[in-house]
Symmetry: C2
Subunit: 421 residues, 2 copies
């Protein structure tokens, strides 16, 4: 890759939104402005799907307030997609769009599927002799990307869930009632990172504090064991607060509860309903014990009003690092977050090959789960605790958070319409 | 009532917790310290149920940080109950406890059932010649007490729900996906105040903004109309955000969805599951349209991390006003919130007879619901909008809110054990 590569840059977002994904866009835009090799700064609307449609906006034309406001605005300011590039004509179209708009720097913010997409685009560009630097920026509440210590988006969803768990616990403690099982269903399709994160609400001092039981996709679910766990907690405590990850599976690896039979574009089953299922089990099998369930839904992943400053800063830093890597001649890499060995917690960025990152999945380490299989040990606490620190200050107006909407000045299209399958 | 009444005061909390009910306790304690007629300041644990057990704590012995910390600590710091005083021996026991501990001022913080309990205790005290001032302090997220403009607790639950709705809307807007119905189930057993409050997330400018459809317990639910409503929204918008109150009923007044057949101590059915029900209706009747549902559960009513400063201030003010009313010789009254006629919004306290308040229910005014029956008009906006203003500043430690736990120094018991039924 030539260090003198000059042209336009394009940043786009893919996959599920987070509370801090826009901070990465702000990082890219802020840093890109510092480099003369980067001429125009474009945003691609709705990820690769919008790029196929040549839907580009001029990010340099956005007001400074807007770009600053992205740092506290949740969800995907450019729009996102769950679209899997498969057809040759789709890949070639991406290249055509890049050539037509002289895109020489491509920053794709997303999870493993998105890093895979970025990787394939880069390979095609090489084949077609279109000089292009492709740098992925990690993003996923699921925290399941490999080769990075953790992923931007994770700390904030955990902070939101722990805050909710702490408040629910105070509510349950308030009530004179005995024998209540309260279940909170949280996200996490394949890995239990999010559910495990709820354990931070305990603090490290007292393992008997809520959440009392955490059910992880990594641990095959057994109804008998669950009912025993609940009875054990209720023998010591007036209520039992349970956190369950949506991706819970049985001993055969089948999902415990699927809300519907639909699958998304990547073939992932759309899950839901574990919390309600655990509630029913108590009602049907444990007489005299009340059960309630709650399900935070998508709100949990975009709760900027309760997001982590550490997470936010790192998301911004990842955007900055992506631009610097590209300017320094790197390509086919994803920015990673590297944790320092010392205390207190420090984090800097590194780079990992897209080839290796794409489609890998980092599971929760087996050895961080306690022997009881429903709680996390000190190693997990040490890992996750720094990620939820600090409170993002969101401005409010009339009692509601003020989030920005980009002006989205369109870059004129120069190509014909693309035919989707 | 003698203006020279001297003795101890007792404050207790009843019913479901809120984000600001402890601010009322802080108001009572702070103001009680100013009056020499009040000697000891006691708290009753777990509402009237704990008082029957003579479980009193010394609130004056709490540290000043603790009392100050109550102003941002959600749920019921003294514990609460859902216990209906019915038996003569229970009423008489309450009086015995009051006599044994020279309780001359009784402040009961709660909803309509609790005000009814306070009223009955006052009547019995008069019969038994125990001079006692009884002042109720309003508290309910349901906002359904009569004779008060609104209830402490309501503004905060609405602020939390509107914030969540705004963030969910950004998430849905981010996704390229079309034809998504996203349903959020919120509290509200008899009245639609909470669900209606979600409409503030629209702002007053644009009725087409989310939440697009609000289903209220006041409006009999029709499946056909619901499916038509959803189709209408999806003809204009890529997604349809629905808010539904848990107490939704059909044309015959039957609850649409009861999570279980259990009832609480007051005979109220425990509700839940409306959101999942509305999700299923879409999946079964509208082909090609995806549906998701979320249910905030008890977390919504105790979300101090996202609570309203106006609500918090008024809860504190209600506690202060209760003490002042009692000291001025009032009894058998509930503190009310009175809204000024002018703009900007101002609020002061008044008093209403417990006899009138007890067991009354204030429904959402019919004329504040738009003709489409799924949105609120400007009158509602004008009413509710000031109540969510201002953000309570919660202190954080290690990334989590720092809430206080009272020391709870017990007042020595002097009576024998009480026999419950």
């Amino acid at each position: 890759m030539s260090e003198e590569l000059t042209g336009n840059c394009l940043v786009a977002q893919s996959g599920g939104p987070t509370a801090v994904i826009n901070a990465s866009v702000a990082g890219v835009v802020s840093e890109a402005l510092n480099h003369e090799n980067i001429e125009e700064i474009y945003g691609g609307l709705n990820g690769i799907q919008g790029i196929l449609k040549e839907e580009l906006i001029d990010l340099a034309a956005e007001s400074q307030q807007n770009i600053r406001g992205l740092r506290h605005t949740p969800a995907s300011c450019l729009g996102t997609c769950r679209f899997n590039l498969k057809r040759d004509e789709d890949f070639e179209r991406v290249l055509e769009v890049f050539q037509a708009h002289d895109i020489r720097y491509f920053f794709y913010i997303g999870g493993n599927d998105s890093q895979d997409t970025a990787n394939k685009i880069s390979k095609l560009a090489k084949q077609k002799d279109h000089e292009l630097s492709v740098i992925g920026i990690p993003k996923t509440v699921d925290n399941d990307l490999i080769l990075t210590d953790h992923c931007p988006g994770y700390g904030s969803v955990v902070k939101q869930i722990c805050t909710t768990v702490s408040e629910m616990a105070l509510d349950h403690e308030s009530m004179g009632q005995h024998d209540l099982v309260s279940i909170l269903e949280v996200m996490g399709r394949n890995a239990g990172w999010i559910a495990a994160g709820a354990s931070l609400a305990k603090g490290k001092e007292n393992p008997d504090l809520p959440p009392h039981l955490i059910y992880l996709p990594e641990v095959p679910f057994s109804m008998e064991q669950y009912l025993e766990d609940v009875k054990r907690v209720l023998s010591k405590n007036r209520y039992c607060l349970v956190v369950v990850g949506e991706g819970l599976v049985d001993a055969d690896g089948n999902y415990i509860a699927a809300a519907s039979s639909s699958t998304d574009a990547f073939g992932h089953e759309q899950l839901g309903g574990c919390g309600a299922y655990l509630q029913r089990l108590v009602e049907e099998h444990l007489g005299g014990i009340k059960a309630r369930s709650a399900k935070l839904g998508v709100g949990q992943r975009v709760a900027a009003h309760c997001s982590s400053q550490v997470d936010n800063d790192e998301a911004f830093m990842a955007g900055v690092a992506a631009v610097n890597a590209a300017i320094n001649g790197e390509t086919d890499k994803m920015v990673t977050l590297l944790r320092g060995d010392s205390e207190p917690y420090v984090c800097e960025t590194g780079l990992a090959p897209l080839d290796e990152v794409a489609n890998g999945v980092k599971m929760l380490p087996e050895e961080w789960i306690n022997e009881d299989r429903v709680s996390m040990n000190y190693q997990f606490f040490k890992y996750a605790s720094p990620l939820i620190r600090g409170e993002v200050q969101v401005p409010y107006e009339h009692g509601l958070p003020m989030y920005v909407q980009l002006s989205k000045n369109r870059v004129p299209k120069v190509l014909g319409e693309h035919k989707f399958a």
